[in-house]
């Protein structure tokens, strides 16, 4: 297959292109057209649009947080607001009465429902209970409750116990870390081989490597799965870990692109001084390649943390060795009737990657600029 490397944005790294080192001159070379005068209204309008789009974009997350903080009563209660809330009540003659918004004489008053009836009801004014019942004609069911915010945290505690969160968290972290180590080690070696050595068949092999990106996993899955069954590895982490030590096309490509931008003079000097190719890699190349190595590590970590299909295939039988993603799906198939629990579970599954991202976000967005490629 004809793979034209210039199709990848990273291929612009033929010179020493280091976007993560911000140029001080900044805007001079970028494509941003220079700012013209009198565009304040435009600026305001565009920022406003961005805020609205962002609000819509993240609103599912806000809903998830709100639901996670609701008790099951709060979710099922009719007319409850979007945020977790309880109806406000007023204790009168030893009874808890709900406070409703009652329109009386053109003003809406907050009154406690005393004697509900279909056509007309009596209310008590909480401000002035001594005044006695007030009669109001109309169906009290059409009236809105008065709500007070009342977030509940028990969903999180329940999920913690129900899915054995600490164990799944540990499993996920160990798998993610080991497979990241495997990926970085193997991909660095392979990228070095492709970037710095000439050998017969190199271009063909590199094209083969890139072509595997386009290969549907279904074409290889059954024999691979069968091999793992025969080895007795299904039901262990080995099928998730061992293949990462044999490199993957995306990450090899990224690291190789980066290696190509490092000048060869230092390698050659090291070789003349008698350094072996392996020594050259560890003491000359890698010290200059930290940005791409860290970028690949972070991206693989997120990928491994979120992977679903691998753990589904190889760890389905044993809840004790599963990852959070799989645990969440299993949890959903049992507790799908309780949306508060489910949303608490989703938040607990995503919290670590989200925090990790926010802490390393500069590196993330720049890392992708370096790499110009996603997983």
């Amino acid at each position: 297959m004809a793979i034209e490397t210039p199709t990848f944005p990273a291929a612009t790294t033929t010179s020493r292109w280091r976007p993560w080192r911000r140029s001080r001159s900044g805007t001079a070379v970028t494509g941003r057209p220079p700012r013209a005068r009198g565009d304040r209204p435009k600026s305001f309008l565009l920022t406003l649009i961005a805020v609205v789009v962002l609000a819509a974009f993240l609103s599912p997350m806000v809903r998830a947080v709100s639901y996670a903080l609701k008790s099951s009563d709060q979710i099922t209660q009719d007319g409850s607001p979007l945020y977790p809330a309880d109806p406000v009540t007023f204790t009168y003659q030893g009874k808890e009465l709900p406070i409703l918004l009652v329109p009386i004489d053109g003003v809406t008053k907050q009154l406690a429902l005393f004697e509900p009836a279909r056509k007309s009801s009596t209310f008590i004014d909480p401000q002035n209970p001594a005044a006695g019942p007030i009669k109001w004609v109309g169906s009290w069911r059409t009236l809105d409750h008065v709500w007070t915010p009342a977030p509940h945290l028990e969903n999180f505690a329940k999920v913690w116990d129900l899915i054995d969160y600490p164990r799944l968290l540990f499993n996920t972290a160990v798998i993610a870390i080991i497979s990241t180590i495997g990926t970085v080690l193997s991909c660095t070696l392979v990228a070095y081989g492709f970037a710095r050595f000439r050998f017969p068949g190199r271009n063909l092999l590199f094209t083969l490597l890139i072509a595997t990106i386009f290969l549907p996993a279904a074409v290889t899955i059954i024999p691979t799965y069968t091999i793992f069954v025969k080895l007795g590895w299904v039901g262990t982490w080995l099928p998730l870990l061992v293949p990462t030590f044999f490199a993957n096309a995306f990450d090899v490509f990224l690291i190789r692109q980066y290696f190509l931008t490092i000048p060869t003079e230092l390698d050659e000097a090291a070789a003349i001084d008698g350094a072996s190719p392996f020594r050259t890699l560890t003491s000359v190349i890698i010290p200059q390649a930290w940005p791409v190595i860290i970028a690949v590590s972070i991206f693989h970590l997120v990928y491994a943390w979120n992977d679903f299909f691998g753990p589904l295939l190889y760890t389905s039988g044993d809840p004790d060795i599963q990852t959070l993603a799989l645990g969440l799906q299993r949890f959903n198939s049992i507790h799908y009737r309780d949306p508060g629990l489910i949303q608490a579970g989703t938040l607990m599954t995503m919290v670590i990657p989200v925090i990790a991202f926010l802490l390393t976000q500069k590196f993330f967005t720049r890392g992708l600029v370096v790499t110009g490629i996603d997983k």
Binding site: P9, L82, A218, P223, F357, V369
Partner: protein
Amino acid sequence: MAATSVARPRTSRSRFSGLGWRRARWGYVFIAPWLIGFLAFTAFPMIATFIFTFTNVNLSQADPLKFVGLDNYAKLLADQQVWDALTVTLKYMALALPVAVALPLIFALMLHSYHLKGSGFFRVLFFLPYVIPFVAGVLVWGGMLNPDTGWLNLALKSLGIEHPPAWLDDPTWIYSGLVMMGIWGIGAGMIVYLAGLKGIPSDLYEAARIDGAGAWASLRHITIPMLSPVIFYTLVLAVVEVLQYFLVPLVLKNGTGEPGGSTMFYNLYLYKTFFTFQNMSYGATMAWLLFGITLLITLALFGSARRWVFYAGEAR
């Protein structure tokens, strides 16, 4: 002659002589991890799968193994479920591809604009959902698109639409719902487009402005052509991904294909053939069909690239 004893005559390639050969051997040593992995986890399984397509391996039946020629292929062509599943995938593709290619570009253009205040803040938050595990994303969006309690339908109802669609429970609207779920994954594409936008020399815009080009003309005649390699890259990867789409419906509908078969994607049917019906040979045949379709579409895209993908480096 002395030279022949140094050069290895067994290769005709004179550039790999002496020191060159020693270096070349190191090259093989370094790529060995990938090469071994490729042979074990890609090449061998691919060939095995291909051989399966001519046999009757079916773990749910105890028939003796035999070669059946092209029977599996004949069955495939006559299997209505295969064509239905392929139609489902193509329907989804028709909706998802334009979004996957254009939406990150629109977001990137917005973030790149000088008129936007706090661009870095927006960039971080638009990228954020990319790191959310997809199972969590599916469940969050499943709630968001719930016909009764989902915020989307609450918003539509408050806008006066009395009967908003049931999204994920309605065969007509489900693809729109699935595409909406996919929007959380645009972060990576957006960042790649942003990198592309930053790489466009600003003197092109200067020149266009002097020639009297407006914002639209600049976009149409500078930004889009200059970004065409990135657009092409995004498109190719999106095609490969969409053709294999099945995990979301698997989690969302437990792999049942509900509602009304509208989520029985090709790859889902394929994996069910493997893992539920355990019909290895037929699944292998379906896998090779998928591979063939992927190959055809990618080759067609690479072929078309000559006409619309513009490489600044080549033109100069």
